[in-house]
Subunit: 309 residues, 2 copies
């Protein structure tokens, strides 16, 4: 049995905020690609936003890849295809780093992998990947959560040593439900009330019921951030890296503009999943890779338009 | 019978966007208090935002007045008190310009009334008043709508000659569900599909089902605005004036910060309500004043803290 440094949903821990017990940045500036300023910012805030990692042509290829996934899965019913509550539109498609040749290649792209390696101070692997679509007019909100809380309780991620990489493929405006992040929230661990139901993931991907932080805890986190809540707003092609424990969420989207992004979770090869800390049965492979884990060999990906011609 | 210049919810008109048939600004710059720049801006965009109409002490008195209304109505059940769907928190309290001495006086305050008079080129009266609360964490979205469409169809407002005045009593941030407005949308009239149910207002104040513009129409309005959607963001005390036909809405509020505002609808004394254009029975008086209508005599209100001591 692994020691549980971050108990949650155990009843008696409901309502506790404790300090993070792990480093935030595991690597150092000398290794690159990030410099000291970047690392300090990430360490302090729990996220970093870039708008120049990919050029316009590459963006276009990624958008075509996205459309390709949408088209392929439009009428498919499968566990790894999640639809909006109250409509039939696709919200997320998981496992794109395995199922799709283009996104498989993108997931190994050294421009993003080497940043993950530096932040986590080790080789990395993809713990989860997905494409998210937030349709215009009716995109639903996603309430505040720490990904780590879920990954720890339901998937058995032992320590905070993972980073999410979100490549936005549509412009993110203030008015179309961008990701909101609470600066500095990654330094705290908020244990959640309640217990986890069996097969919780089947509903939680649409609407969270457990793993939801209490209002008082959220007030405390925002107070510590001097009342600031940041939004990942930027042009298509922007890339957001955020710590696995950064508290984030998003409001609904009533604007006509859909939001879509590619989402890779890089986990340190030294932080592989063990038995879940809060449930008996681990979640399925498409949500949390645990089989045949090998570190990524970073690649200089080619972005060729002809791929989808 | 009055001629219906703006048919909506009649079935056959679903899907039409037509030009506004009324002026936007009825007065002129020479009269004041607004100068030509302000009037041009309002004419072009359909709204104006001020952050210096009231000072800090006055804001404090208004906030106390708001809290007073909340306290008084906390446990009261009445048609004019609207609660959040899915919780029991108060969303709106109507008729505050009649029921509450402080807000009665505020509704006649010359700083706001004279702006309404200038915009509408006549004396004005309060057609509707309310206080809105949007609680933190669970404030629900309010979908796109033109107030005029509802006021025309359900209340019998003949022409576009009314202006809403919203005094925000909490800071409006990008992240706590501020009012979003589509610049220039007031120049178009979007007739809505469907028919109006009897007593529609009982549900529409919580969640709109009719009077909802179609997606294609919304796309057109936003396209005409060059993809821009504006947010009424500003410190507590800011005052937003917007034309009765400006398309607006708001996303939900998952932040810890509630949003509240005082809302007065000034209608031209020359634009009094007639029979509803789309329903048999007019909505109740608390939603649309039609009894004993007299023009407001603007007052230099006193804001005394002792009022609530």
């Amino acid at each position: 049995m692994h020691k549980d440094f971050y108990p949650s949903r155990t009843g008696e821990n409901a309502g506790k905020i404790t300090n993070r017990k792990d480093p935030v940045v595991y690597g150092n500036a000398a290794e690159g690609p990030l410099d000291k300023n970047d690392l300090d910012y990430y360490n302090e805030n729990g996220y970093l936003l870039y708008d120049d990692l990919f050029n316009e042509e590459e963006l276009k290829v990624m958008q075509e890849g996205l459309q390709d996934i949408l088209n392929k899965n439009e009428k498919k019913e499968a566990d790894h295809i999640i639809r909006e509550p109250g409509s039939n539109e696709i919200r997320s498609v998981f496992e794109i780093h395995k199922d799709d040749p283009f996104f498989k290649s993108l997931s190994k792209n050294k421009r993003i992998v080497q940043i993950a390696e530096q932040l986590l101070g080790s080789q990395v692997y993809i713990m989860q990947s997905r494409i998210n679509f937030k349709p215009g007019f009716k995109g639903k909100e996603f309430y505040w959560h720490s990904d780590f809380e879920t990954w720890h309780v339901e998937d058995g991620m032992p320590n905070m040593r993972a980073v999410s990489c979100s490549i936005v493929l549509t412009d993110n405006h203030e008015f179309n439900g961008p990701i909101m992040l609470i600066p500095g929230s990654h330094k705290w661990y908020v244990s959640c009330p309640g217990k986890t139901e069996e097969d919780n993931y089947k509903t939680s991907l649409k609407k969270q019921e457990s793993g939801v932080p209490e209002n008082k805890k959220m007030e405390k986190l925002v107070e510590e951030a001097n009342g600031q809540i940041d939004r990942a707003v930027g042009p298509a092609g922007s890339v957001l890296f955020f710590d696995c424990n950064t508290m984030h969420g998003s409001a609904g989207n009533i604007s006509p503009f859909p939001r879509s992004n590619v989402f890779f979770v890089f986990n340190s090869i030294e932080n592989k999943l063990v038995e879940p800390f809060g449930t008996g049965q681990p979640r399925p492979e498409f949500l949390a890779n645990r089989e045949n884990i090998k570190p990524i060999k970073p690649e200089t990906s080619t972005f060729r338009k002809s791929q989808y011609a």
